[in-house]
Amino acid sequence: MNGCTERVYNGLIKENPTFVLMLGMCPTLAVTTSAINGVGMGLSTTVVLVLSNMLISMLRKIIPDSVRMPAFIVVVASFVTIVQFLLEGFVPSLYASLGLYIPLIVVNCIILGRAESYASKNPVVLSIFDGIGMGLGFTVGLTAIGLVRELIGSGKVFDYQLLPLADMSTGQAGYVPVTIFILAPGAFLVLAGLTALQNKMKINAAKKGKKVIEAAGCGEGCASCAGCSKTVFPTGNEKE
């Protein structure tokens, strides 16, 4: 497996931002009331992630270490603004349903996390593929959650009424939607359920003797990545 496909595999499966790293929970829980919202949010984030990873990787030798965070934020915010205008112009319905969560992509910790732990230390092409992998992983995660919530909570799949609804007034039999799934508690229930399911699948695969590759780099999620090469939290012992 060469570096680029490895990056995509890493983002999709091994370090899936939604189910493994548990990053970006705010949009994950808030916008996944339907599958199409999940896709929209996931793809918007992917675009921002790929572009910001690319630019930050290009500029990694120019950005001084001490101001890297503000620099990353400026880069990410610019791309988010572009994506926001494009969505507003071309898919106004999606823009309306995602609403506030589009500008919030700026502070999505997946994007800053990848900039900090990957793009700022690796070459441009690999960083782009890292962005693609992580973005697709996020998109798959959000779409899966949205799909389950939409199906159980309203009987629809991508806005198509898959399960005909029951009508209480005429007594017509059919599916009675479990509304709680498109409300806030449903997001937690479905996220927990799907995470458990993918853990089970990974454990089963490991039992069958398939080699499950340990996470690349530090072997942990981004949250614990601080110690890899840069000291984020100074201990006071560094002599620089």
Partner: protein, 317 residues
């Protein structure tokens, strides 16, 4: 020759109670039977179907989960029966039976078993299930058909300022969920539990008194037509809705109520205030379920604050 004294050595505890979870749960089940029987008399066949559906599915869910997870099967401790029966008593008789079954699966699987089974659940499984259903199927869960007519519950009438039949509320010939209508039947069960030493008056007593005081004061402040501590208004509030069933059978659940004595008083008072707030100032007429599950979540905090100090600790510094 030294005489040998035979001493039996064993570690504490030296005095053991014969009470087990199984026979406590069995007594709670027996205590719920009057309310269940009255519910079936009051709402006829649909009520019986609902009670059977919730109870059977609660037990089956527990059995299947433990079987699949290779855990010890604890179905015969009656706790799943109590959960199922309580949920059934909290359902409107005219709701479809599968709704009750779905609630039981949620209560047992998500609220109880996923958190570690009996003794580990963070809120009352029956009430967790009821709130799950209430949010999901608001329409069916709040439509009460009595004598073939769909009508408002006495609490809804009370909220809109109309008069109610207090005697009917005591006996139970009013619309409502299966088990909550008859105050008499619930009190019979509660007296049995108190006599058997399963529950004491601390939680239900503080709950009911706090609630009565709250309603007495704020009922007047909210609507000046109702007198200050108007006895009829307070009685109607105490006999209507799920407060009796909640106070005696659900707030007293061992797992989700505080152990410390002061904690139990705080918990009871909190329940009373929350129920009063929800009923008088909330959007819907009833608020017992939410009051109990919110208080359930606060139990660890209450216990931390009211933990008694061991002798010799915490004196003058």
């Amino acid at each position: 020759m030294l005489s040998e004294i035979k001493l039996k050595m064993s570690s504490s505890p030296h005095i053991r109670s014969k009470t087990t979870s199984a026979n406590i749960m069995l007594m709670v089940t027996i205590a719920l039977l009057p309310a269940a029987a009255f519910g079936v008399y009051n709402f006829k066949l649909p009520a019986l179907v609902m009670l059977i559906s919730t109870t059977v599915s609660a037990v089956l869910t527990e059995y299947i989960y433990q079987k699949l997870m290779h855990k010890k099967i604890t179905v015969n401790d009656f706790s799943a029966v109590v959960t199922g029966l309580l949920l059934g008593l909290n359902m409107p008789a005219n709701a479809p039976w599968w709704m009750g079954a779905l609630g039981s699966v949620f209560g047992i699987l998500v609220v109880k078993q996923l958190f570690g089974g009996l003794g580990q659940n963070f809120m009352n499984p029956a009430l967790g299930a009821r709130c799950f259903l209430l949010i999901s199927f608001t329409g069916q869960m709040t439509t009460f058909i009595y004598d073939g007519v769909s009508g408002p519950t006495p609490l809804a009438l009370l909220k809109s300022g109309e008069s109610v039949d207090t005697m009917g509320m005591l006996i139970g010939t009013i619309p409502g969920t299966i088990g909550e209508t008859s105050v008499f039947a619930i009190i019979i069960g509660a007296i049995f539990l108190i006599l058997m030493g399963v529950i004491d008056l601390r939680i239900p007593g503080t709950y009911i008194v706090t609630f009565a005081v709250f309603v007495g004061i704020f009922g007047h402040l909210k609507n000046p037509d109702i007198g200050f501590f108007d006895p009829q208004y307070i009685t109607a509030h105490l006999c209507g809705g799920g407060i009796m069933l909640g106070a005696w059978f659900m707030a007293t659940d061992y797992v989700t109520s505080p152990i410390t004595k002061t904690g139990q008083l705080v918990y009871g008072a909190l329940l009373g205030i929350l129920t009063g707030l929800f009923r008088l100032f909330g959007g819907s007429a009833e608020g017992v379920s939410y009051a109990i599950i919110i208080s359930n979540l606060l139990v660890p905090l209450i216990e931390r604050v009211t933990l008694p100090k061991p002798f010799g600790k915490g004196g003058e510094k």
